[in-house]
């Protein structure tokens, strides 16, 4: 099983304020908070961690058939070169993140081999959501102007 999550950076800037009191504490572990605050660009770091957590959670919630809002129980480790891991209840997920000027997109899988096989399609659109059901993606994420499909 695979997962993905995309954050449109223009929307994130407008719709969220990571400096808001309590924001970091509710979403991130103490170690993640320390990394965010010492990062060169804390804003990007916040959203990279967030997409890592969300993409891993999408796999976790489908496997366990549970839903929850427990971001601090999804613990991120950033390895390097966009690669990282997320651990939830001793289950480990492997992630890969792409960051550009427009968006942050993270894909997640249950193994690093599976991660490398993921195909990504990112569509930019305005107004009506394009029809994508016929494409039968394994996971979908949409935020702001972007729709990300993974296979």
């Amino acid at each position: 099983m695979i997962g993905n999550d995309l954050v449109d950076l223009r929307c994130a800037l407008k719709e969220s304020n990571w400096k808001r009191k309590g924001f970091l504490e509710k979403l991130f572990t103490p170690s993640e908070q320390a990394h965010i605050l010492s990062a060169e660009d804390p804003f990007l770091h916040v959203w990279q961690y967030w997409t890592m957590k969300e993409s891993a959670y999408k796999i976790y919630s489908r496997i366990t058939k549970t839903r929850s809002f427990a971001p601090t129980r999804l613990a991120c480790t950033y390895v390097s070169n966009g690669h990282g891991t997320v651990i939830m209840n001793s289950l480990i997920y492997f992630t890969k993140t792409e960051i550009n000027g427009d968006y942050i997109h993270t894909i997640a899988a249950e193994s690093s081999i599976q991660l490398e096989k993921i195909k990504i399609e990112i569509i930019q659109y305005c107004g009506e959501m394009p029809v994508y059901a016929s494409k039968n993606p394994s996971c979908v994420s949409h935020h702001g102007q972007f729709l990300a499909l993974v296979y």
């Binding site: 954050v7 994130a12 719709e15 969220s16 808001r20 009191k21 309590g22 924001f23 509710k26 979403l27 967030w50 969300e54 839903r67 929850s68 809002f69 427990a70 971001p71 601090t72 129980r73 935020h143």
Partner: protein, 85 residues
């Protein structure tokens, strides 16, 4: 003691800026799901929780926040927190 209707109305005002489905917002009830029905972006759920804390002057622990995906679950937590006061 606040009535259920008052509580739902105060919650409605809190979620209103984040709800993308305005129709579902207008017919909000105990059974409304923040993400599935109101189409609140998951990245804004934390803002809903922080707004609830401010509005009701309560502190919600991360373990309690885990269940706050619906109006009903939020009402239960808010009522129990207000009861502790």
């Amino acid at each position: 003691m606040m009535s259920k209707e008052d509580l739902i109305n105060r919650l409605k005002a809190i979620v209103s800026p984040y709800a993308q489905n305005k129709e579902a917002l207008n017919s909000i009830s105990e059974d409304t799901d923040f993400i599935n029905d109101l189409k609140i972006n998951s990245a804004n759920l934390v803002d809903v929780i922080l707004d609830v804390e401010e509005e009701f002057d309560i502190v919600i622990a991360n373990e309690e926040m885990e269940k706050m995906l619906t109006v009903k679950a939020s009402m239960t937590i808010i009522e129990s927190k207000l009861g502790e006061k």
